[in-house]
Amino acid sequence: MKDLIDDNTTDMAMEETLISPRFYTTNYKELDKIDVSRVRSEWDPLVEEMRSDPNKTHFKKTSDWDDFDFENLEPGLRKEFIDFLVSSLTSEFSGCVLYKEMKRQGTNEDVCELFSLMARDEARHAGFINDALREANIAVNLGFLTRKKKYTYFSPKFIYYATYLSEKIGYARYITIYRHLEKNPDSRFHPIFKWFEKWCNDEFRHGEAFALLMRTDPKLTSGINVYWIKFFLVAVYATMYVRDHARPEFHKAIGVDIDWYDDKVLRMTTEISRQVFPIEIDHDNPKWLIGLKRVKRDMLFYAKAKQTKGFIAFLKRIYGASRLGISFVRLYLIPAKKNKVPTTSRLQPSY
């Protein structure tokens, strides 16, 4: 939803974009029972590093932040780039709300401190992106707070799997773009990319923390949970593949081939995830890419069907949803590779 508002700090009419973060609850009692003593020797240094706040001074606009005019962007690229900024901001924001809530409801000191440190980072990232949006004359509307909102439930283990992958993929995406633009500075069309290198170290550390949380209880990465892990891997990887391929202008502008980029990001994530997951996606199996393409095709078909109304469209939707479901199951059934998890998991961002 967009409309024009008068932002009283600048006296300039700004386009307003409404962000809709999600609200979650989880089993806080289960979080309280987490015992980090199994991983204490890795936990303490990580929390200490986060406490020392290595990125405290990073998110400042320095002279590196060159002038930038959003109006000069091609309309297609402008749309995709703003989608990128708004979506990144919403995700940082939702992460902040979730982590803060976990901190507030819990009583376990180790866990509360961790979530409070992560909430700090996410709010800081959101503030930085917000500023970039303001340069484009876009103000973020936080009016959702006074609207009725429903709380969705996730069990702690699903939060671990999903946010672990989300943080590590976030790292892999940012560092891949950063390294690419280091070699091709002419394609760096916006200054925000210069901040990605240190920024993504925060994502990396958050991922490390979730890896340790998963390792506090061996049950989380064995037995039936291995099937859940595979489910999350397949769903998260496939979603990223589909969304990236739907943003051609953005990738063209930074000069990356989407197929190359996604392959690199997903392989990097897989390599990192060996620290904790007992299985990994077999990227070299030719069926994997064929399966991803099939999911992409069906997702587009389904999305199109959803946009139209009427009986025929209804049938198309059902057909599309079933086809998408089958394609997803086929992707899921491609055998995963087994992985022997190391006894300690701590990694340093070295890509």
Binding site: T90, S94, V97, Y153, F154, F158, V242
Partner: protein, 98 residues
Amino acid sequence: MRILIKKKEIAPCTVEISNTFESLHAHVRFNNGAIIYPGDEVLVHGRPIKAPYGKIVKEDREATILRATALERVWTKIIGKLEFMEICEFSFTEEVSL
């Protein structure tokens, strides 16, 4: 917890919105220790709270908590498994085309 009829509660709360360069965040805290369970709905009373850029706004308000029924609670727990993709973020919104 009721099986079919929702229960309404009024709870005092503090809303904090920070719209600054250093931090963009918004939180609602219930001052009577009320806990939100799966499927509950929350409505903060009053006009929308706006924080102009560069400001942190804190306001005490009241909120209605509409408690989910036992059935809804179970349902939310099941459905939650399917909605997990929302917490995964890959730099773009879920729209498959813009």
